[in-house]
């Protein structure tokens, strides 16, 4: 049966099941999903993966007296038995109170608008040709390029969510991503350059990336001959991509209310009203702004997308919620419950996370820095609670307020709270990094957007090697 048809026909059935089984529990949700995707991976120009796949499946979540039952299936015939199983499981484990923040039931059909070509209308051969073109560009930069990789993914998802509260949401979007890497080798020295991009708007966003792609290989080659930075604490200027990484990885995950709810120490350090940074610091997360990797209309619990201010004038004012964390903490749901696909239950996840543009002209961020570091893009990161280490994609020394010689092996480390407090100036530039790919609780590769301006941060620990502080 055609999948579109399958979902359409299932609409009535899921509503009937919700009506029939809903009264046995406090909350019942059925989520059906159909997806159609492409996956291409070239290593050294050779295709290691080349696939197009269509999938259909769903899951059922039931909540009874605070206990959850979950069942997933990949065959619509199993829908009814799964509802029964999830309801039975919830009734078995529920011994407390169901606390779900209320949301108004809605019946709606929404399609995330494309501004260009839908990737489903592009042939696999043309997508592969694009990958080959980029692989050739990477390889052709220099004879010291030892290996290259190009990955292409797209997926078109249609999700139907029905709940015992009367919600019926039919939502769809297309998501695309490309990742490029080049590794250069000279004797024992190995250096990597990377670029990533994504879109929820148009296949065209992945074309004409020649300069960006070549940049990855050029950085890898250039870094072979660069000196390592001397490890020390420096005043640092970071570019918008590193700002986006920092706000997502170092700060954003701590704003996810499930993390705080499960960890009383974190809940304490993430007390609303606590000052984290300068007056000029504003941090947001939200799926409501359209056109980014983390944009949607409703989350996977049927809560409408919002924009949540997390930090206002340097002070913590909000956090990200599912209906359950909002209910338990007595706060408003924010529409941040997302699941990677039907195999998983929704978790509190970020969507598009950004630091708002500031007022300092970018050139002025460097002024007065006698000896510092300017870091752009990133290669690798590590996080451990409040602590983070990010390896810059490329970096220069700053001397007497000016950009000086390039250096390599620049890792930026610190405690997120101390680092936020050490933000000295916020640039007047801004960039959305659509490279996405957030991981949490085994649900990795969730599309997100990260944005921000360039930042000047004082007293950042800069190490000469990525693992220095962990190893």
């Amino acid at each position: 049966m055609d999948m579109v048809e399958a979902i359409d026909q299932a609409k009535t059935r899921v509503q009937e099941l919700c009506d029939r089984w809903g009264p046995r529990v406090d909350y019942l949700a059925i989520r059906l999903e159909q997806s159609e995707g492409t996956d291409i991976f070239l290593r050294g120009g050779q295709a290691e993966t080349l696939s197009e796949a269509i999938a259909i499946g769903g899951h059922v979540r039931a909540c009874y007296r605070g206990g959850w039952g979950f069942a997933s299936f990949n065959d619509l015939e199993s829908l009814a038995p799964c509802v029964e199983a999830a309801v039975a499981a919830a009734r078995l484990v529920g011994h407390d109170e169901t606390l779900l923040a209320p949301v108004a039931p809605v019946q709606v059909t929404r399609r995330l608008p494309l501004t260009g070509t839908d990737p489903r209308q592009i042939s696999l051969a043309r997508k592969k040709a694009l990958c080959n073109h980029y692989a050739d560009l990477l390889q052709g930069i220099d004879h010291r390029i030892a290996t290259t990789s190009v990955r292409y993914n797209d997926v078109a998802q249609r999700v139907l969510l029905a709940t015992s509260e009367g919600t019926l949401i039919d939502q769809a979007w297309s998501d695309m991503e490309m990742r490029f890497a080049a590794t250069a080798r000279d004797g024992d020295t190995v250096q990597t350059g990377r670029e990533t991009t994504g879109s929820r708007k148009a296949y065209e966003d992945l074309e004409d990336l020649d300069d960006q792609v070549m940049g990855a290989a050029q950085r890898a080659v250039a870094a072979l001959d660069l000196p390592s930075v001397r490890g020390a604490a420096y005043d640092v200027v970071i570019d918008p991509i590193l700002t986006g990484l920092f706000v997502h990885e170092a700060f954003g995950h701590l704003s996810e209310a499930d993390m705080a709810y499960e960890n009383p120490d974190l809940l304490e350090s993430m007390s609303l009203g606590r000052r984290f940074g300068p007056d000029s610091l504003q941090i947001f997360d939200g799926a409501a702004p359209q056109g980014h990797r983390g944009s949607y209309f409703y989350d996977d619990e049927g809560t409408p997308a919002t924009t949540t201010q997390l930090i206002e004038n340097g002070v913590l004012v909000g956090r990200l919620h599912s209906r359950e964390t909002a209910g338990k903490l007595g706060e408003q749901p924010t529409g941040n419950a997302r699941c990677l696909n039907y195999h998983y239950s929704p978790l509190v996840r970020m969507t598009n996370t950004w630091i708002e543009r500031g007022t300092t002209p970018v050139d002025d961020l460097f002024a007065d820095i006698k000896e510092g570091v300017y870091a752009r893009n990133w290669l690798e990161g590590m996080t451990n609670g409040e602590m983070f280490t990010f390896t810059a994609g490329e970096a220069w020394m700053i001397r007497n307020g000016k950009l000086a010689e390039p250096v390599r092996d620049v890792t930026l480390s610190g405690n997120v709270f101390r680092t936020l407090a050490d933000i000295e100036a916020i640039g007047d530039d801004f960039y959305w990094d659509e490279s996405g790919g957030c991981g949490k609780g085994g649900q990795n590769g969730l599309p997100v957007g990260c944005g921000g301006p360039s930042l000047r941060i004082r007293n950042v620990v800069v190490g000469g090697e990525a693992e220095a502080e962990y190893e």
């Binding site: 030892a146 290996t147 990742r179 590794t183 080798r185 190995v190 990597t192 990377r194 490890g231 020390a232 604490a233 990885e249 990133w378 290669l379 690798e380 990161g381 590590m382 996080t383 451990n384 602590m387 280490t389 890792t411 480390s413 610190g414 405690n415 790919g437 957030c438 991981g439 949490k440 085994g442 990795n444 590769g445 620990v461 800069v462 190490g463 000469g464 090697e465 990525a466 693992e467 220095a468 502080e469 962990y470 190893e471």
Partner: protein, 175 residues
């Protein structure tokens, strides 16, 4: 790990036993020290203390002494090694070495696309640090200390009680 101490040998034996029981079934294969993991981009290999392969071993150019696809690697630390310390990053190399630097194997192995988790097992105290791949190029870290805790591997669903990892290990022995 070379020239093992008795305690290192005990930890390795315990890990081998635990891992084989908890995840050495059809999906995963547990391989002991001596198997070379090949890093094609770096043109060299490393020898982890213990590794796990998901599915079939993938070999570099078909050579059966060059494994490409470990998903879990254990490194048993040879001496007293400092735990996570943000300030240590500021130290010059010589001072870091003096504080007991690790082998650098983790840094090299992070390039293995199949690798999902890398565990450091201390031998002078009951402490295991697990680095897991949270995103393609982003690693998270969890640490367990004390004999009453349990290490839950980020993949394979293995749960390793510290009591069992350190069975018969004598922390009073000098290394």
């Amino acid at each position: 790990m070379s020239d093992s101490s008795v305690n290192q040998g005990r930890i390795l034996r315990n890990l081998m036993r635990l891992m084989d029981v908890t995840c050495g079934h059809s999906l995963y294969e547990v391989l002991p020290r001596g198997v070379q993991v090949w890093l094609p981009e770096q043109g060299k290999g490393v020898y982890p203390d213990l590794l796990v392969v998901a599915g079939e071993p993938l070999l570099h150019d078909g050579q059966d002494d060059k494994l490409l696809n470990p998903c879990v690697i254990f490194e048993i630390l040879s001496g007293p090694t400092p735990s996570y310390d943000p300030e240590a990053a500021m130290l010059p190399d010589s001072q870091r070495l003096a504080k007991g630097q690790r082998s650098g194997m983790f840094r090299r192995c992070r390039a293995i696309p199949y690798l999902q988790t890398y565990l450091f097992v201390h031998q002078t105290e009951a402490r295991v640090e697990q680095f897991y791949r949270a995103e393609e190029h982003l690693w998270g870290m969890t640490a367990q200390s004390g004999l009453d805790s349990v290490v839950e591997l980020a993949i394979t669903d293995a749960r390793l009680p510290m009591m069992d990892i350190y069975e018969q290990v004598d922390f009073s022995l000098l290394v």
